[in-house]
């Protein structure tokens, strides 16, 4: 397109000299390395648009008055009814201009579409109606921390419907599609606090699905995500008081998407002045929101009977979400301690028991060291598998601690001998576990009272990086067994595709 170069050069000069200011009236200031390309395109467009709009409207107004009908002017002047050369000219010029626009726009877009190789990876999970960011060190936060002048790549997916990842100040936008992993990237060049706004309509809370975005120096970024990685420790490395931990949990576990803390109404009751207050029940009567009540409410939301709020809205898996048996109690205490700090009705009965309020010394975020023969390198997979087991619902039937249940316990299952209906015995090796999970109808285990559902749709497929989800789950099952061995573990090749980080 050689002939377009002079035109482009000319327009470049024009936009550099006079339209920068005008452009900034429209688009936000450059906030990332891709923004200048977008601004260039915008400026080019702007000059062309202004020129042609002035031309068209100017001619129109001129003709309107120059050739206006009047007593003296009743008839049109004779003039040509067509002129092919003229038609071709005014078809050709717009054609050339839009083709130049296409090339400029496409070049800018290719830069936007191609992430650089040395980027920091941040995982983005969108769900109704909040964002969760997972950093390379495993930290999880509701605030997006971005280091200045470092390329960051986002691996995004959605838990439910479409969402839109949109940070106007950094000129980055991409839809987040459930069932797909969508990537985009940004290299921020401007310090400050901005907004990530959901741009694809996602239901009731769409307009509240806004997260703060903090662009800060690399060292500050590292400190922030380090602090975010440990629930119990603050940015200064010192143990946090329990209410502060509760506040973190309030933001991390999605409580904040339904419960406000400033007294404003929400999908759920506000936490402002809740602890220690009288809660009105359906059908009259009240109950005091003391410690026991609040704890019960978090653990068994379906038992709630609060006036003005429907049942079944609040998820009933908070015990699992807070780390499951042995872990959740302290976190619930932290949340209730936080509720007490924002309630004027707070009293000793609504506070967690005295022992619980002491600052925690340490609390490892990952699971206990893998048992049996599971290698240390698989720890991230074990943790990921545990999450899978809870989200998919395995733990609804299978216990992990040997407790008998409708289905076989997972404790010491991997690597053990399993009796089949036809009297044969097989070893629960990797293939067995895999077949059992993906094609449960194929194996008839002796003593089984119910058919296990086919889990393949929830575990394997391109949206889960192939087998990774399944293998994580099998790693987890192995970690629960002292009989775990090479044959019962997923192949070593599954280890490099980690879920948690490098």
């Amino acid at each position: 397109m050689g002939f377009t170069m002079p035109l482009m050069n000319m327009l470049n000069v024009v936009h550099l000299n006079c339209s920068r200011l005008l452009a900034f009236y429209w688009l936000p200031r450059d906030g990332s390395t891709t923004a200048p390309d977008i601004h260039d395109m915008w400026n080019f467009f702007y000059v062309v648009a202004i020129f042609f709009t002035v031309l068209v409207v100017g001619l129109m107004l001129f003709f309107m008055f120059r050739y206006r009908m009047s007593a003296k002017r009743q008839k049109a002047d004779p003039s040509a009814t067509h002129n092919t050369a003229l038609e071709l000219t005014w078809s050709g010029i717009p054609l050339i201009i839009v083709m130049v626009m296409f090339v400029v726009g496409f070049k800018g877009y290719m830069n936007i579409d191609t992430p650089p190789g040395n980027s920091i990876d941040i995982k983005v999970l969108a769900q109704q109606w909040f964002w969760t960011f997972t950093y390379p060190n495993g930290a999880v936060s509701k605030t997006l921390y971005l280091p200045l002048n470092r390329p960051v790549r986002f691996e995004m997916t959605s838990n439910d419907v479409l969402h839109g990842f949109w940070i106007p100040a950094l000129s980055v936008q991409r839809d987040v599609v459930p069932g797909r992993i969508i990537t985009t990237w940004v290299d921020a060049t401007r310090l400050g606090t901005f907004h990530l706004q959901c741009s694809e309509y996602c239901g009731d809370g769409h307009s509240r699905m806004i997260s703060p975005v903090i662009v800060e120096s690399y060292s500050k970024y590292l400190a922030d995500i380090k602090a975010a990685a440990n629930l119990w420790v603050g940015a200064d490395g010192k143990a946090l008081p329990l209410p502060k931990v509760g506040e973190k949990l309030y933001n991390l576990k999605g409580c904040s998407s339904c419960h406000t803390v400033n007294g404003a109404p929400g999908t759920g009751p506000t936490w402002r002045n809740l602890a220690g207050s009288q809660v009105k029940l359906n059908g009259g009567g009240t109950v005091t929101a003391n410690y026991a009540y609040l704890k019960h409410a978090i653990m068994n939301p379906d038992h709630l009977n609060v006036q003005g709020y429907a049942k079944g809205v609040m998820p009933d898996n908070y015990v699992e979400q807070l780390g499951g048996k042995g872990k959740y109690e302290r976190k619930i205490n932290a949340i209730i301690a936080y509720m007490n700090t924002i309630s004027k009705h707070s009293n000793s009965a609504s506070m967690p028991p005295a022992g619980a309020t002491a600052p925690a010394t340490s609390a490892p975020a990952a699971a206990a060291p893998p048992a049996g023969g599971v290698p240390k390198v698989a720890a991230a997979h074990v943790a990921a598998g545990k999450k899978v087991a809870m989200t998919v619902g395995c733990t609804a039937c299978h216990s992990v601690n040997g407790t008998p249940s409708v289905c076989p316990t997972w404790q010491n299952l991997a690597g053990s001998k399993v009796k089949l209906k036809d009297g044969k015995t097989v070893v629960a090796d990797y293939d067995f576990l895999r077949t059992m999970i993906l094609q449960p109808g194929k194996i008839n285990v002796a003593g089984a009272t119910m058919q296990m559902p086919n889990m393949s749709a929830a575990l394997v497929g391109p949206q889960y990086h192939g087998d990774q989800r399944l293998n994580d789950l099998i790693w987890y099952i192995n970690s629960l067994s002292k009989r775990s061995n090479k044959a019962s573990q997923p192949p070593q090749s599954s280890l490099h595709s980690t879920g948690g980080g490098k």
């Binding site: 293939d431 895999r434 194929k442 194996i443 393949s456 749709a457 497929g461 990774q468 090749s493």
Partner: protein
């Protein structure tokens, strides 16, 4: 056509059916025919959405289509194809006999066409019940009772590495475009060197042992039921239209001067046939 009007002295019939805004019966007939062709084009476009969904999902997940299509009964499909082709012939005969004014032949060929339509629907109903019995349904209802399914032994092909890799196409594309993609290269259990699946081979049928069930098989059955279901509805509408034609024929409405409705229903039936000619190979034959 215009000669036909004068030769058989059926001008009166032609005039009777001429709407006020047309100048000649010929103009009216031509308008009707153009309108019918346009309508049939929209019918094709209605199906095109489903063909498009088929193509997209087949391109992304060839393993699903490869695996699931063996559960379709190609024999019933073939019989249905022959039935529809025959009914297409009798329909053409009906149009011809309406043009030439042979009322008895017209009635018989309409009846035969309707019989073809009913046979087609009956065979389809049989196929649907089989699928229902085997739990080979769409979406969340998919709950295969593989022991009961009778796969076509001859058609079983061992999957190649290429097949299995093909399943990862979206990821491969992502990898090509510079995204880090992690995917497992473990062979699925059933074709692995050892494992429970092999031990239980006789119990679950050779087919399953030869080809592991991929994820999301329900997608194929969703598309199968949608496409054949929409087509069957069209067959049903065709039968209703023919009933209407039959009544009008008995009332002596049609003759060489006026047979447009028979002609148009004939065109419609042709399109119903044609859509099936695409559905049959796409769903039943291509593996």
């Amino acid at each position: 056509m215009s000669e036909a009007v004068s030769v058989f002295g059926q001008e009166e019939i032609a005039r009777k059916h001429l709407a006020h805004h047309f100048d000649t019966p010929q103009q009216q007939f031509d308008s009707g025919k153009l309108g019918m062709w346009l309508f049939l084009a929209t019918e094709f476009l209605l199906f095109s959405g489903l063909f498009c969904a088929y193509a997209v999902y087949r391109a992304i997940n060839p393993q699903i289509f490869r695996y699931a299509s063996q559960y379709l009964d190609a024999q019933s499909g073939l019989i249905n194809t022959l039935v529809l082709l025959t009914s297409g012939f009798t329909m053409a005969l009906a149009v011809r006999s309406a043009q030439t004014g042979r009322k008895a032949v017209l009635i018989v060929s309409l009846l035969l066409t309707m019989a073809g339509g009913f046979t087609f629907l009956a065979i389809h109903a049989y196929e649907y019940t089989e699928k229902y019995r085997d739990g080979l349904l769409w979406g969340t209802l998919y709950n295969p009772k593989l022991q009961d399914a009778k796969p076509d032994q001859a058609a079983i092909a061992k999957p190649t590495t290429a097949d299995l890799n093909a399943g990862w196409q979206p990821l491969n594309l992502m990898a090509k475009r510079g995204y880090a993609v992690s995917h497992s290269d473990i062979a699925p259990a059933a074709i692995g060197p050892a494992g429970v699946a092999v031990a239980h081979k006789p119990q679950v049928g050779a087919m399953v042992a030869a080809m592991p069930q991929p994820a999301n098989v329900q997608l194929f059955f969703g598309i199968y039921f949608l496409m054949t279901g929409l087509h069957s509805i069209h067959v049903l509408v065709g039968i209703i239209l023919m009933t209407w034609l039959l009544i009008r024929t008995i009332k002596n409405d049609f003759g060489p001067a006026y047979y447009a409705p028979v002609d148009f229903v004939g065109l419609y039936w042709g399109v119903v046939d044609m859509v099936w000619m695409f559905l049959f190979p796409l769903l039943y034959l291509i593996r």
